[in-house]
């Protein structure tokens, strides 16, 4: 509500009953005293009724052709077997397999890095596992675009795939930190030629990277939790993983 009258948002919220009780009470109190807003409200209610009537008239009298019949789809129903075990269905197997493959590759990549002590030693090649992980995880997220959360058991699968994608991107994020640290060291040595400054630069890069990493992990988790199953969440996963993949292959592009 602006200083004097109800806003268009407020009026439409009122007629479409999207306001909470407190907002509605405030508006009711204002409407009692304001004839201008009462007139505006009546006008909006007339529009609403008009839209409903006309849309209803068009749709309720729209004609189907005779081709839209059960016999047109019956052959497909006869030839296909209704899968009794839904967990073997394509809509479940495909995203699950892709996501799990990506997570396994990410874990392998991380294990290899820990085994090679790459967190403390510079310029270790990370191998093919991390990029493969990014590839499979990105495919899993892209596959989920525009799939409704509520088509059972899509809700369970969406949750599972989202958790796997978040874990996978968290693991790959650690590997990205190593890459960025090594790139910073190489950049300092290339510009400065003195190894002595490379150490502090590496520490600084890791610290800044770690702060960003923690921020993305926590912020990303909150965003995905609120928007789980929605296309925005899957798209953010895809963008995150593609950026992580780019960072992983950056050394190969530069060297």
């Amino acid at each position: 509500m602006n200083n004097k009258h109800l806003t268009p948002d407020g009026l439409t919220g009122y007629i479409y009953c999207t306001l909470d009780d407190a907002e509605r009470e405030i508006m009711d109190a204002h409407l009692i005293e304001c004839p201008t807003c009462r007139a505006n409200l009546t006008e909006q209610e007339l529009w609403k009724r008009q839209i409903s009537n006309e849309v209803g008239m068009v749709l309720n009298f729209s004609a189907l052709s005779s081709q839209m019949s059960f016999s047109a789809i019956a052959p497909q129903l006869q030839n296909r077997h209704i899968r009794q075990n839904i967990w073997l269905d394509r809509v479940i197997l495909v995203p699950s397999t892709l996501a799990l493959s990506g997570l396994v590759f990410a874990l392998f990549g991380l294990w290899r890095v820990i085994d090679a002590q790459a967190f403390t030693s510079p310029a270790q090649q990370l191998g093919a596992f991390p990029p493969l992980a990014c590839f499979f995880l990105t495919l899993a997220s892209v596959e989920q675009f525009d799939h409704s959360l509520s088509l059972q058991p899509r809700r369970v699968i969406s949750w599972a795939v989202a958790v796997i994608l978040w874990l996978g991107s968290a693991f790959i994020g650690l590997l990205d930190l190593i890459v960025l640290r090594d790139l910073a060291i190489m950049a300092v040595i290339a510009m400065d030629g003195r190894n002595a400054t490379a150490g502090p630069i590496a520490i600084l890069t890791v610290l800044l990277g770690a702060m960003l990493y923690i921020g993305f992990i926590i912020g990303g988790a909150e965003y995905h939790y609120k928007h789980i199953g929605q296309s925005g969440s899957w798209k953010l996963f895809s963008i995150t993983l593609l950026v992580q993949l780019f960072i992983l292959i950056l050394p190969y592009l530069i060297w």
């Binding site: 948002d9 008009q50 047109a72 019956a74």
Partner: protein
């Protein structure tokens, strides 16, 4: 609907006649929803048939304790309609085709001039709805025609509850803005 539950169980057991009954019970509603989203009969029938094929083949995915069968079917229809919209150019609305396809309207004891005015109003509103962005059009059709709750709209369209509410409100504001440029509200008053 107990009858529907029985039909679904029979279809899960393999009785194709049950599938046919399910189809016939929901055929018109499903087509009309698709027609509202796509704006032409051919696309609407394709979307509706695809939706039925998917729903009947994946009947084991339907959980009655989570949602109504109609809600589930509408979700699938919406998904198929979106696929068609993505693949094809935006549908155009043909007044001639609509006038040819429609059955007699419910109204009107009024004279020919009033019927022409009513048709113009209907054409304007329908065109305005079809010109809405897809997300707002979906919300408008589901709210105004299907009469679904916001929770059901959110479930069907795959968005949050608040998003569904704001889409309905935004769609109304856009429609009023478009239709307000056409001075037909006065005509609507006169034809009552």
């Amino acid at each position: 609907m107990k009858n529907l539950e029985v039909l679904i169980e029979r279809w899960r057991a393999g009785d194709q006649r049950a599938a046919e009954h399910i189809y016939n019970q929901h055929r018109e509603q499903t087509f009309r929803l698709a027609y509202g989203l796509l704006g032409n009969t051919e696309d609407a029938e394709e979307a509706a048939q695809d939706a039925f094929t998917y729903a009947l083949l994946h009947i084991n995915h339907f959980a009655a304790q989570k949602s109504k069968f109609t809600t589930w079917l509408y979700m699938i229809t919406l998904s198929r309609s979106r696929d068609i919209l993505r693949k094809r150019r935006p549908p155009t609305f043909s007044l001639t085709a609509w006038l040819r396809n429609r059955q007699s309207p419910l109204v009107s004891r009024s004279g020919p001039e009033q019927r022409i005015a009513e048709n113009e109003i209907r054409h304007s509103v329908w065109n305005a709805v079809q010109d809405l962005p897809p997300a707002l059009r979906e919300a408008t059709i589901l709210r105004h025609w299907s009469g679904l709750t916001y929770q059901e709209i959110a479930e069907i369209t795959g968005c949050a509850l608040k998003t569904a509410q704001s889409r309905v409100r935004l769609a109304h504001q856009k429609l009023v803005q478009i239709l307000g440029e056409v001075d037909f509200q006065q005509s609507a008053e006169e034809t009552r």
